[in-house]
Amino acid sequence: MQEMMKKRAKTLLADGTVSRVIGWRRGEFSYDVTPAVFETAEEIDRDFVFDAFCGANVSKYLIRESAKEDGRILAFLKPCDAFSFNQLLAEHRVRRENVYLIGIPCAGKADIDRIKKAGIDGVTGIAEDGEDFVVSTVYGDERVKQADVLAERCLACKSKRHPVYDELLGEEGEDLPDDVRFAGVAKLEAMTAEERFDFWRSELSKCIRCNACRNVCPACTCENCVFDNPASGISQKAAADPFEENMYHIIRAFHVAGRCTDCGECSRVCPEHIPLHLLNRKFIKDIDELYGTYRAGEDDGTKNPLTSYTEGDAEASVVRERGRA
């Protein structure tokens, strides 16, 4: 796939269809790839990489890149990224005419933290070998099943289909059932309030308020974030009190409710490994159950659930009446 992508990128650069390419630049130990803009075929030959570690969602960068008066930019989008892009498009945050989209298939991305969790450290390189990864380390080679170290978001993948693209490389995939995706939320819902409270307290108390989850989120695109407003009385960079941890995470998730495409970037970037997707997915699940299935980033004419209503909507008391402990 990487070679196909490089070839196509160079062709589109050469024929002037695009002036730049956004992709991933190789790093020091194979897993530390960085999103990057390439302008020449030489750069692409030297540094362009696409492998199981290219998980970063590049759609948010397209806000900045598509605003430039510098021709079109080629972006390779995984299905996740395409949903995010489409949502940004619906919100008029990207200029479609300045972007050339190639949809690329995705079999799931590896999570280096899970590889390390499996007890593998001192990683110097990772190669794909059939169903496995062969991880070379300073302490010798290790072999691990790819499926065992996929990112959580990939194990709970919602769709292998691209809702938007100019061309596709490889086969188009299909939507996947939602039950896996909502299993984590359902498990929490089945707990008692005390258990849920303890669970979230232990998770959210790890938060260091680095704001990575907010800054990486392709739905968080406000020019000025409410948490950066000194007059709001919220310290945007200090978890000064447990209340602020709750407040930050509730409001962060709420502000993207109905717009979150569940790309999972928030959980991927969290240095403390807080399962932030469980907050976003709770909103998605509630919206689906209360207001009908809605998929942000889909072009199916459904209205954003938080900017629409029906007269027969459930009353807020539905939360009490749902009959859980």
């Binding site: 258990e195 409410v226 709770k282 008391s317």
Partner: protein, 147 residues
């Protein structure tokens, strides 16, 4: 939260009331000399949909033990549709608070028209009793503000 002389718990309750219906309803219950608990702090807002989720959280931060949002009955909004949006927002927010393990009874939405002074007083009485039974807000409080 307050504790009175007998050390019984007197909750602090914040009621966001829309200007056109519920605030007038509260007024009416006052002019009709209907009793409702004095520990309810009413905050007048132009419309129930003015209340953003942060208002609810900030009320808890600042010492509320329960927060209730009152607005016009669905279909009667002064701005036609504001309360429909508010209903969705609050439903999702309350569900999230529940999901985080915060007691469900601490939040409520009630529709109170300008003519429903009686309903206002009764709603407040029942909400205050429910919060009193729940005890002080400990799961969504800001320790720095604890009295």
């Amino acid at each position: 939260m307050q504790v009175n002389e007998n050390e019984t718990f007197v909750p602090t309750i914040v009621a966001f009331c829309c200007n056109w219906c519920s605030y007038a309803g509260a007024d009416l219950s006052g002019t009709n000399r209907l009793q409702y608990p004095s520990n309810i702090k009413i905050i007048r807002v132009p419309c129930s949909c003015r209340v953003n989720p942060m208002f609810i959280l900030r009320a808890f931060q600042r010492g509320a033990d329960g927060v209730i949002l009152c607005g016009c009955h669905p279909g009667d909004c002064h701005y036609t549709t504001g309360n429909y949006y508010a209903r969705r927002r609050m439903t999702l927010l309350f569900s999230m608070l529940d999901y985080l393990g915060i007691e469900r009874g601490r939040t409520r939405v009630e529709w109170v028209s300008a003519a429903e002074g009686q309903k206002f007083a009764e709603t407040m009485k029942s909400f205050a009793a429910e919060i009193a039974a729940l005890g002080p807000n400990r799961r969504l409080e800001d320790l720095r503000c604890r009295k």
